[in-house]
Subunit: 224 residues, 2 copies
């Protein structure tokens, strides 16, 4: 019985790893498609959405089954509810990669406004955050998770910089506006992907330590 | 024991109702602040974030306690895991209202680009979706929940229309760009608020019917 439970938990972890792998690759492909103007990459990302969605539902069902049949306590309970929440974040990240791909298909109708440097850099940061957040989950590594939360600031800073730069383009050349707005939305999507990676990392800290860190809740409560 | 459990479930529902009420009002205030150029409303929304975050953590903790101590089965289990997920959606909606308020503070530095009509209309639709989604949760009303999912299309259509209109403003008058981009982001935030309301409604259907409807999963599986 105990061994069966461990096996099922391992399968759950494997599914999350697989889903995270697909999502991470989708983010990479969506940005590569945009940067190198390759329509087929954008289409590939859109095509993958279905497998991400299937895994999302499978993870949800596995978690519910484990909760219902095994009635886990403390640590295992936190692991399973964390897995449920991580599934939600991964699914949204997959959607955001699809949003980038759809935006790319629009943007491919004209040459790029400029060679992309900061957007691919931002994507790399977000991808690494996702990869490490899932690793932190598998390894129950709360130190790594804390470090990931801090990296979100670098992504936000980059997004602000891109935002200001694109505004300048728009003001100088109104004909560039729709292309600039497209890139601006892509950078927003990347920023949200990094936010979801941060959510996952916060969940890992909660799972390992058994206490909430999101919202600086300790501080608010002790002040209340 | 049974009665105590029911009492705890009722408390959980009350907390979700309270949180939804605050979030709904925050969305309304954030848009009113923007539309009527009232800085104090934007500041009020930002100020409320803390109470939303506190409720989010309280709901999470209540759900975990119920799962751990009561080991609920079937229907109650789905109710509790749905409540956890709804809490996450509400918290994100609260964040999005704060994003609108922050954007409003920026936009208040100059007169509005134009009197706002479609953005407040979009906000009204999103607010009603949220209100009804929570009601559907409380009443276990899956018919209402299905209807809410369909309303999301009207919000998306309105967002597209706003998007095109703002692009026209930008192209005609480059000096309007930063104000138009600000409004464009606000309409994106509203669209995401409506998406979260849709997530809640999908969760309600799952809770009541015991089957997934998101991602058209039935169709994908029967095709697979």
């Amino acid at each position: 019985m105990e061994r069966l439970f461990d096996e099922e938990l391992n399968k759950l972890k494997e599914k999350l790893l697989r889903m995270a792998g697909i999502v991470e690759e989708s983010v990479a492909l969506s940005i590569e498609g945009l940067k190198d103007q390759k329509e087929e990459l954008a289409r590939e990302v859109i095509h993958r959405e279905e497998s991400v969605n299937l895994l999302d539902v499978e993870i949800d069902e596995t978690c519910l089954r484990l909760l219902a049949l095994r009635q886990p306590m403390a640590g295992d309970l936190r692991l399973i509810t964390s897995a449920m929440k991580i599934g939600v974040d991964l699914e949204r990240m997959g959607d955001l990669a699809v949003n980038i791909a759809q935006r790319t298909l629009e943007l491919l109708k004209a040459p790029l406004l400029k060679p992309l440097i900061d957007i691919p850099r931002m994507a790399k940061l977000a991808q690494a955050m996702l990869k490490d957040a899932i690793q932190a989950f598998i390894d129950r590594n709360d130190a790594l998770a804390s470090e990931i939360c801090k990296r979100d600031d670098a992504v936000d800073a980059l997004e602000n910089q891109i935002f200001r730069e694109l505004l300048t383009y728009m003001i100088e050349d109104p004909a560039s506006i729709w292309r600039a707005v497209g890139l601006l939305l892509v950078s927003r999507y990347l920023e949200r992907i990094a936010d979801h990676a941060t959510n996952i990392a916060e969940n890992v800290i909660y799972m390992v330590k058994g206490r909430m860190i999101k919202h600086n809740i300790d501080k608010i409560r002790s002040a209340g």
